[in-house]
Subunit: 370 residues, 4 copies
């Protein structure tokens, strides 16, 4: 029998297309590029509609991996999940989280559950499907596929589902209009929220957080709507379908990593993450700061401006700021919250947490070395 | 003998000119507008050159206080220190910190030192004096004047010096050029940093953190230059001199408040502030969260993007971002750090910490009810 | 019989609250502040949701006029139409267009039609009325009222209808939600477009450009919807109803000014404005540049990013730019177009031309001295 | 004898890395990729420090051309001048101006001078050389080399010199500091202006507009300093030396194109460009609009915010705007000016015109089909 061995690296970069850190790891023999199944990049663009650092990084990865995988750059996308999340506001530091997977024959099984990963993709969406039931259902199906790929049976063992989803540009809206179809919104920036929201609801359906038969078009971005405690979704201009990465734990895996998750109740809720460190890993971020620094590979978190305009009862101005989009504000703030908690800033904090955690809050996963 | 009684309120507002919260306190008899000696506002502009929310708030306060002080709006400025700091990025919430002072005859002296306040102003600066020795020395003199006004003799009893200083606009630079004088920079945004830096060095001189005879023009923004652990400076387009507010403690005062301070070593250094809470007030922000929430009036903090481009060794992108100025990034991040620490977001976090704390860090003061 | 005498000044300012230019005119006896019926300000904010330069300018005008009108600042608003449009991107220069009116007994009538002005206001709108039929119909009624006030009977004599309308903030949306009502959008920036669009349709109804019985909620921002060739609408956070100013011509008036209008077909259509100068005033902007410079008081124009994402067939990026809002781009571009045409930059170019001129274009009025 | 045959195409793109338009031309046999000597791209980033659309486009071109030139992507840069200028604010439309050159044996010489092109590069600069004499002199030498490459002897036949130059990032400044060297500025955004200014002075030296012996470090960005009427410089994060493209006319060439140039005196000076069309090409942009539309390949223009804060005597706010950099404002405005003049928006308008044309103005070249 073959045992799953997942590796995770948090690799800094000097720019969106700088893969020298990854190349160094490969040349040192620490990482075999052919084992890479997913990359979650944090690039330094605005994270909004016209953020081309995401597709720039994607192009660099495609060219890099094409030589190792002996395929064309365009074919890479079908074999490796490349998820680039733009925006390193505040103290956040650009980097790539590189995930490898191989199956080892005859490895002695670990006593406890260990990190596993699975990937899947949906079909290409029509512009008018974005932000609606069609996107929810296709995403749920892809999440279930990725769970199977990861070897996870119990949804409780899923700790983080990362999705990359498309957005609507003027061109795509015009395409829909030309066919007599109406997109869910005419605002390109707003379309990112709809697409993220529908994708997160798809995760909630797959994980049993939301009954499948309650799904309808109007659920996305509706007030008081349900949310997933483990979904993380980024929208990007560079793709037209959903790419899904499931991270969780499974018995029998031999990875040298574990994963846990918490749900931040609001943007300054460090307490929930602190509690997760204590309960999941037996570590206190203040008392055991050195060990946390040594073992933490990355935090994966979602951030958003509280939609009711308040944090802990006090008015915030993120939603009324026409110079800086709310997602940028939220990433900067939550980057500070988590950076102070774990004493480092190379963290994956992604903006726009529609249906990802409660309003104003968001899921956070922690990956630690054993 | 008369004992100093200082009051402090943290009053929310619905916009830069919304004084309804202050009016309500006044009408309820809790606060007498005639006792106000200083207001430190956190307004919701960009905190940079073209942030008119600062002068908008100032105009509103001038009109409000002019009726209570029975003077013209223009005369208010000479009697009350109005310091407006723009920028409530991330979770930060707009508000006014209102400081009153009166002298009470025959009040029983407190056993311990209590909060005191003093104010002073420099003369009007020429554009070419901004960011240079002339501004440093005039500021040091004003800080000493404000200490005398506060009744503080030992510089160690000064915990926070808030200064509002001018910046250079195109018009002011043209004025200097017309007289054959060269301003320290031709860049309006950069001038804010020079003016803040010179003002902070003035504080350092007055508090004995920097020998007066080492001061020269080239010291401002020089690499490896000295800093003050208690200076907080904001630049604004609406004034042409420095306004100084000294906050500290003195024996004999009868205020119901105390003040302490820490110096954050970098933008995510919550630990130094946590330690200050324990050592100065005997409170642990996590364990005693409820008591901290009840007693804390406000944190007064400075934030800046680390000038070496790194936080805890990892590259940040704040200084290379031409869409969002670095001061905005820094306020958002530090607002998250402190908001998570004390569980509230109505905090005074001000950007641009040149010579205010170590590079990338900054001073933080905490005012608590007894 | 009394003849209407309307005066118009284009007064520069050094900041949003700088009325020194107006004061100088008043002190020189050229302008009697008591005659002011309307002010159209171009202030230097972002022109979007959090542009507080508009209410800052309004507050300054209210305090200034309150002493001349012997009323409180708050009462000024009911007596003088103060319309502040934010955004002086590119070459545009901040200024106030001040409009006075008085009625002169026994003045000899002019041979031709001359400039007249009328003002009116709607009632306060509920948040959920913004961008819907209720706002359209109340606006149409107010435009008719302003026409009567101006002494204009034939809608063809109306050359420009300036409206200031409210927008939705997070607070106002929460208020609606609290009453179980749904605003037309949850996006504060988007609400500005809905409010401007409904207001413009109200103008179209009043001027006979749109049959009143075709008005319905869904008409606002609908594809292929009608537009007015003379509406100019600005949204602002500082008011909750619509303020209407009608500018036109009428026989019998004795004003020393005339007005004409054109409709720009797209953002670079200088030709339509050039033709209007030739046909309405017998002046060629290139050949008669000196006379145009001498006689032109102001151009009043609307600008918008073409909603189909193209100008003259080429893709523009205004609608996909998440760093700079599209209205800011459009003002900058049209400011360049018109500035080059008339050789000056103190022009009223206002952004967001929903239902104001054809998609991507907008109305332009020119006021000239006789 | 061999005659120079230069081709020029203005090719639209759907994004920074979209070369489908170029590929279509190549596949149709209209353009041989092996003949390409230079590409001047207008990409849709912010045109400032963190504009990665420039290096993204460069990477796409390198990969595209590497297969045609049978070299590695990295080697392309040494063989083809790839100049990407970020920023398509306002109506401007992203595109690539592709320039080919081949030498034809036995072609009949044209009666008049025709378009020629030459290219050259400087050595790599140290960070501390940027914005100083070393950069000026190396640039002048490279311009002379490009003139020789173009076959131009008389500097009067040079109509446009396009340069791409480096900027200073935090990393590069740290590198200089590490060697004890002081860069010309500590501000990354400001470094772009210094680098552009020094490069433009290099052009002025090479074209005889500035005596070589008057060059010194302090000349760059000095008040009242000299300027070139034919220099166009863009700064980018993606290179460390200067790339030079000279465009001009020469007898004996057989190109089907001509080029002329004008100098805009300020940002709204359409008149100088109109006059150039009449005098250089015998075409009036209004009267001969159709012929101009048919024959114009592109305008190549520089734009900047007037450093004295005024346009035609009226205050502008571009230099005080901390939300939008001045170069973005200027491109948007001049894009409108030129777009209205020639009736199209696919124009090369580049920001930051230090020493390129008079303060607030800039050079403009027009390339037309015969």
């Amino acid at each position: 029998m073959k045992a799953q061995d997942v590796g995770v690296w948090c690799v800094p970069c000097r720019g969106p297309a700088d893969l020298s850190g990854v190349q160094a790891l490969a040349e040192a023999g620490e990482l075999d590029p052919r084992d890479i199944v997913a990359v979650m990049g944090k690039t330094e663009g605005n994270g909004c509609v016209n953020d081309h650092t995401r597709d720039f990084a994607t192009m660099a990865w495609q060219h890099y991996l094409s030589s190792h995988l002996q395929c064309t750059p365009a074919e890479v996308e079908a074999r490796v999940s490349l998820v680039m999340s733009g925006g390193t506001e505040g103290v956040l530091s650009p980097h790539f989280t590189v995930i490898t997977r191989r199956f080892i024959v005859g490895a002695p099984a670990a006593d406890d559950k260990r990190l596993v990963v699975g990937v899947a993709q949906t079909r290409t969406f029509l512009p008018e499907e974005i932000g609606r039931r069609a996107q929810i259902e296709a995403t749920a199906e892809a999440v279930r596929g990725a769970m199977r790929d990861a070897g996870i049976e119990d949804p409780a063992d899923v700790h983080f589902v990362q999705i990359k989803c498309p957005l609507l540009t003027s061109d795509r809206m015009a395409d829909a209009a030309g066919r007599g179809a109406a997109p869910v919104t005419q605002d390109t920036y707003a379309s990112m929220g709809f697409s993220r929201g529908a994708s997160a609801l798809g995760v909630a359906v797959a994980l049993g957080e939301l009954p499948a038969d309650t799904v309808h078009d109007g659920l996305v971005l509706a007030d008081g709507a349900p949310w997933s405690g483990r979904a993380s979704v980024s929208a990007g201009i560079e793709l037209e379908n959903n790419v899904v990465i499931v991270l969780g734990e499974a018995a029998g895996a031999v990875s040298a990593f574990r994963i846990g998750h918490a749900v931040m109740k609001d943007a300054v809720d460090a307490q929930s993450v602190r509690t997760m460190f204590r309960e999941s890993f037996g570590l206190d971020p203040e008392r055991d700061a050195d060990e946390v620094a040594r073992r933490l590979v990355n935090l994966l978190a979602k951030a958003e401006a509280s939609p009711d305009g308040r944090v802990r009862g006090a008015r915030h101005t993120m939603l009324n700021d026409s110079d800086i989009n709310a997602t940028r504000h939220a990433r900067a703030a939550v980057g500070g919250v988590l950076g102070a908690l774990v004493g480092r800033t190379r963290l994956y904090v992604s903006g726009g947490a529609e249906h990802q955690g409660p309003p104003g809050g968001g899921p956070v996963a922690a990956i630690l070395h054993i």
